[in-house]
């Protein structure tokens, strides 16, 4: 097959993308003499990564589709019985994720400029984290994917437990244990696949597994093992309880990355691994996806209403919004290719848009917290008087979060609903009601923080500085650009979605014969 022969060579762009953050971290460790140097080097690192991720976005040729910008050395771990390749590449699914990581990485670094405690370590961990996430989104060898997946936990643990607030040690440990548990299952699943078909090559696995090779354990079991790993990360109810704790106690920039990028690793894994390799199993279990999705959406939204801590509120809203990803994925069971493709595209797009929207939310909440030193909603109010720009940014994030058209939040939600409704009419209708509750908690939150009488305590608050304006403008622009013309993203996502949909359709055709 053509696709397989193309998947060799060495382009270098992705290798640079993944490993430059580590180099910058090393550079900071060795060369930075004071905090000022550290910040400068980290900012340059973030900028370089942003430019590289935009370069990936531009360099990917939509018309050619498939995996591109391949970097591959065969037998990176040269043991005959355990062949692991160095294999990086991107397709329509990973390109937007790379862009998202580039944007949010830069945002996170800019949002960290006020950190004064152990600055050097902090930025080193942030850069390592960014490199690891780039690795997850570009690795096409399952073992490499897994290594990056685990690598991301180390900086995360230290960032939350050292620079967090509240019960930070507890939250960091909870996060680690949950994810580790999930990834243990994932590793077993990956090994079972390897033993069955003899490769970790994620581009070759779909065809090999679907060709009907006998698997060492039933396909459903492998699917379950892999899925649990991703489900923890997304998170899927009831595996979600780590998320509110970790988000609330993490420092601002880490919340931005955690909600913006790390959750998306879960959804990315579901599409890249489970849906691509075993689409028919996924289609068979789609009722579970839609059930979990509806619970995520409604349960998450209702619990969000009760939250009084701004960050915790945004964290719970993330659980609700990740439910839309599951609902979009459940469209894979559609009999027609159209609805399935729309749903999967919507699910992928929801990951990107939620990343930017929640990123902006955590960013602005962080700015509010920096100034008021409280996140307790009843203490706030009338903040738009003293900080109109931060208030406006927060409002834009809120409106995008409730799916206001013109923002990218609408485009992804409508695609998810359109895709899922023909297959799962009633569950989808229930989930659509989630948008009403979302409007409720978002607008109630903005009313209580930004509008109304201002507490005289907040008389001296200042609005966003020029430096703070940069990440705000970046995210608002991203939200608006992809909201006004979502085809920039959907044209990419559908490249990766079409083979999955085709595979489901061909297998169901075989069955119906």
């Amino acid at each position: 097959m053509d696709g397989l022969t193309q998947n060799t060579g060495f382009n270098g762009l992705l290798t640079a993308l993944v490993f430059l953050p580590f180099l910058f971290a090393l550079g900071i460790l060795i060369f930075a003499r004071n905090d000022h140097h550290v910040r400068l080097m980290a900012a340059v690192g973030g900028l370089v990564e942003l430019v590289l991720s935009i370069a990936v976005f531009i360099a990917y040729k939509k018309v050619e589709s498939g995996f591109q910008l391949i970097d591959r050395f065969n037998s990176w771990i040269p043991i005959d019985s355990f062949r692991v390749d160095y294999f990086l590449g991107v397709d329509g699914l990973s390109v937007p994720m790379v862009l998202l990581t580039g944007i949010l990485g830069m945002v996170a670094i800019l949002a960290s400029m006020r950190i004064t405690n152990r600055v050097k370590q902090y930025f080193i961990w942030i850069l390592v984290l960014q490199g690891a996430v780039f690795g997850v989104f570009t690795a096409l060898d399952f073992i490499m994917f897994f290594l990056f997946w685990e690598l991301e936990l180390i900086p995360m643990f230290f960032l939350i437990s050292n620079w967090g607030t509240g019960r930070k040690d507890y939250s960091a440990m909870k996060f680690i244990i949950f994810t580790f548990l999930g990834s243990a299952f994932m590793l077993v699943g990956a090994l079972a696949l390897y033993i069955s078909v003899g490769t970790f090559d994620m581009t070759a696995l779909p065809e090999l597994v679907q060709s009907g090779i006998k698997l060492v354990i039933p396909a459903g079991a492998i699917f379950g093992l892999l899925f649990v790993g991703f489900a923890v990360k997304l998170p899927v109810w009831p595996l979600h309880t780590w998320l509110p704790d970790a988000h609330t106690d993490a420092p601002t920039a880490v919340s931005v990355l955690l909600a913006g990028v790390l959750l998306k690793m879960g959804g990315y894994g579901m599409i890249r691994v489970t849906a691509s390799i075993m689409p028919d199993v996924m289609a068979g279990l789609a009722w579970l996806l839609v059930a979990a999705g509806v619970i995520n959406v409604l349960y998450g939204a209702v619990v969000t209403v009760r939250q009084t801590d701004l960050k915790r509120l945004v964290a719970f809203s993330s659980i609700s919004h990740m439910g839309y990803v599951l609902i979009g994925l459940s469209a894979i069971a559609s009999k027609g290719a159209d609805a399935a493709a729309v749903g999967l595209t919507g699910a992928s797009m929801q990951m990107f848009t939620h990343g930017t929207i929640t990123g902006l939310m955590f960013l602005t909440v962080g700015m509010i917290y920096d100034r008021t030193h409280t996140r307790y909603i009843p203490d706030l109010g009338g903040l738009s008087n003293r900080m109109p720009i931060i208030g406006l940014a927060f409002l834009i994030a809120g409106l995008a979060s409730l799916g206001l058209p013109g923002t990218s939040g609408f485009a992804s939600e409508i695609l998810v609903f359109l895709g899922a409704f023909p297959v799962w009419a009633w569950p989808t209708a229930l989930a659509v009601f989630g948008v009403v509750i979302t409007a409720g908690y978002i607008l109630w939150m903005t009313q209580r923080t930004l509008f109304g009488h201002m507490n005289s305590r907040w008389e001296k608050l200042t609005d966003a500085s020029k430096l703070e304006l940069v990440p705000i403008v970046m995210l608002v622009a991203t939200i608006l650009i992809f909201g006004i013309y979502p085809a920039f993203l959907t044209d990419l996502f559908k490249i990766s979605v079409e083979p999955i949909v085709a595979a489901v359709n061909s297998s169901s055709e075989i069955l119906s014969r």
Binding site: Y299, V305, R306, A341, V435, E498
Partner: protein, 655 residues
């Protein structure tokens, strides 16, 4: 003939004004810069001129002008396009929206003169005008929904314009959430159409194109029951936006926004979007008798229900708000009995005279120091002659008195309801007659309370206001009066001019009714019914007379009646307790204090409790195992020896 670019520019012109003010004037020139007002007025003037051009082109063309659409999103066979649908309905709506918007913007430069958020105000107003025009132009259902939500968002921003006022912030939220509740139905209607996309695609139609959806009925692509469900879902959206019963509660509260906003958005244009939506998909609604019946009944109930609350309100803007809800009910009722052109005609005339009435209310409030409470006004007739003249014209029009615009359009609706074959036509006809009486009464009650009798001190006397200095009532500045005069002229003339009884010059008889039509065979133009017109006028006059007797004449009927302790009065002044039911019972009590609280507790105690239990079990096992690790070599040696023996034993047994 207008081309595609020119038509798009009707939309882009105010949008550019929004962007220009937002990224340039507001941050760099000033939050109170006069420039923003000028930019907005200039942009909307362009839109108005182009709108008239578009109307002329459609008239000249004799039918809708074809304009190509562009692809927005395409996945497999599913295409979502954006385009323009330039037909008769669009052209009329464009003219209404852009011209009323233009007059309101001019008025606003006077009304908002000293406001700290001057630039922000015009920025939002431009955004609203652009969104509303976008909604009217849309040729695609998704595109329509986009602008449908954007007008809602601009309404949210403008109701909450004075965000320091807790009441304004709460009203903005309420408006958004209640209309969203309706949009839930709208969204489901879109999804249900997509559910049938297979049959659309098989016939070469697109399930999202407005024209294709309407054609699908005629072609038999979708059954009448599908059409009915889709129509009902869309109608839920229309009910939210047009504040139809029982989604009406947000509109009176929306009066917390600046008065010109109420005039433009919450009277003339945005709230009519629900009527527009039903009109846009009229063939779809007509395909289902049940859907039409629902529309007629909801419209009828709304018309009389809102009018009854309007009878007792003391806030002049709230009287007008309930009047708006009631008049929107009239339009829905008309659509429901199949009177398409009559409904649009009423939308058209109502936009002018209701904008006029709101702007006079603003002018009055401006002059008495800011209060809207009519109990502290009175006697303004001589002090504000221009405003008084304008309010009389608007009031007579609302009451349906010859020759004002409202007379003609209301008469059309009554006439159609009378002749309609709908099952509910009798019911809604009598509802409409009673509502007409109530309307005349409450409007003139408001006019008499405000302009007759003696001046009662204005804002200073109002305990609800924090005003200490005395204000002497005065006529408003020219920039506010000129729009009033122009709207008054429109109110006096548009009724008989656009839909005349005989040919007037080059305007043919029943021009409007002939121009606005859907397909052949629908909604025949009815001959003018003289008897009905006389009866309706008498009803209007009697309402006015009753108001005169009670509020102006020396009979002092009101003082003799124990009105304030009356049960009916209590129910009306409490607005039938809908706010209490929605906010206290459903939202606060059932949803927040019960449902959400329990679920939150379950999340904290049960779900996370399981996690903590697993964690504790793990720790305890760890502690148990740790106890074995004593560090004493002898102990390890004993265990090891036993282990070896055990393994050896097993080996011997299973060998």
């Amino acid at each position: 003939m207008i081309n595609e670019l020119g038509t798009w520019f009707i939309f882009f012109s105010p949008l550019l004004a929004f962007v220009l003010i937002g990224v340039f004037v507001w941050p760099f020139i000033g939050k109170k810069s006069k420039l923003s007002g000028y930019i907005t007025i200039f942009a909307i003037t362009c839109s108005t001129i182009l709108s008239f051009w578009a109307l002329g082109s459609v008239i000249h063309n004799g039918q809708a002008i074809e304009i190509d659409s562009h692809n927005w999103v395409k996945i497999e066979n599913i295409e979502i396009n954006v385009g323009i649908m330039l037909d008769e309905l669009t052209a009329i709506m464009l003219v209404v929206v852009s011209s009323v918007s233009l007059l309101v913007q001019i008025y606003s430069t006077g009304y908002m003169k000293n406001d700290g958020g001057y630039s922000r105000y015009f920025m939002y107003m431009s955004l609203f005008t652009a969104s509303m025009i976008g909604l009217i132009l849309a040729s695609n259902l998704i595109q329509m929904f986009v602008f449908w939500e954007l007008v809602g968002a601009s309404s949210y921003l403008l109701i909450g314009f004075w965000f320091n006022k807790p009441a304004a912030a709460a009203a903005a939220k309420k408006a958004f959430i209640i209309t969203r509740l309706g949009d839930f139905g709208f969204l489901l209607a879109i999804l249900y159409l997509f559910f049938n996309s297979g049959s659309f695609l098989a016939n070469g139609l697109n399930p999202f194109e407005v024209a294709d959806i309407n054609n699908a009925i005629a072609l038999g692509v979708i059954s009448s029951s599908v059409a009915g469900w889709v129509a009902i879902g869309m109608f839920a959206g229309a009910m939210g936006k047009s504040a139809q019963f029982p989604f009406h509660t947000w509109l009176p509260d929306a009066m917390e926004g600046p008065t010109p906003v109420s005039a433009l958005i919450h009277a003339a244009t945005m709230v009519a979007a629900g009527i527009f939506l039903v009109a846009r998909f009229f063939p779809l609604f007509e395909a289902s008798k049940e859907a039409m019946m629902v529309v007629a009944l909801v419209g009828g109930i709304t018309a009389i229900f809102a009018a009854s609350i309007g009878l007792v309100q003391n806030d002049i803007k709230r009287v007008l708000a309930y009047s708006t809800i009631s008049q929107l009910g009239y339009m829905m009722l008309a659509l429901g009995v199949g009177a398409y052109s009559a409904a649009i005609f009423h939308l058209f005339t109502h936009a002018f005279f209701k904008a006029l009435l709101f702007l006079t209310a603003g002018s009055v409030s401006h002059s008495v120091g800011g209060t809207f409470d009519m109990r502290y006004m009175g006697g303004l007739k001589r002090l504000m002659p221009w405003t008084y003249g304008a309010v009389m014209i608007g009031g007579l029009s609302l009451a349906g008195i010859f020759p004002m615009a409202g007379f003609w359009s209301k008469d059309e609706i009554l006439n159609h309801a009378w002749h309609s074959s709908s099952v509910v036509s009798d019911v809604v006809f009598w509802i409409a007659i009673i509502a007409a009486f109530l309307t005349a009464f409450y409007m003139f009650r408001a006019i008499f309370m405000t302009f007759e009798g003696e001046y009662k001190g204005g804002a200073k006397s109002d305990p609800g206001m924090d005003v200490l200095e005395e204000t002497t009532p005065h006529e408003s500045p020219k920039v506010m009066i000129i729009p009033l005069i122009l709207l008054s002229i429109a109110t006096v003339t548009v009724g008989w001019l656009v839909n005349p009884l005989t040919n007037i010059g080059s305007i043919p008889i029943h021009w409007f009714a002939d121009f606005i039509h859907v397909g052949e065979g629908h909604d025949k133009v009815l001959a003018f019914n003289k008897v009905l017109a006389v009866i309706a006028s008498l009803i209007g006059v009697s309402g006015i007379l009753l108001a005169y007797l009670i509020y102006v004449s020396k009979f002092r009927v009101l003082d003799r009646l124990p009105v304030k302790t009356n049960e009916i009065y209590k129910i009306l002044i409490s607005k039938y307790y809908f706010d209490e039911f929605y906010e206290d019972v459903i939202t606060r009590h059932v949803f927040y204090s019960r449902f959400a609280t329990y679920l939150d507790a379950i999340d904290k105690s049960f779900i996370d409790g399981i996690v903590r239990t697993v964690d504790r079990i793990g720790r305890n096992i760890g502690r148990l195992i740790a106890q074995i690790q004593t560090g004493q070599l002898q102990g390890y040696g004993v265990v090891t020896s036993f282990g070896v023996l055990l393994l050896f034993g097993i080996y011997l047994i299973f060998r």
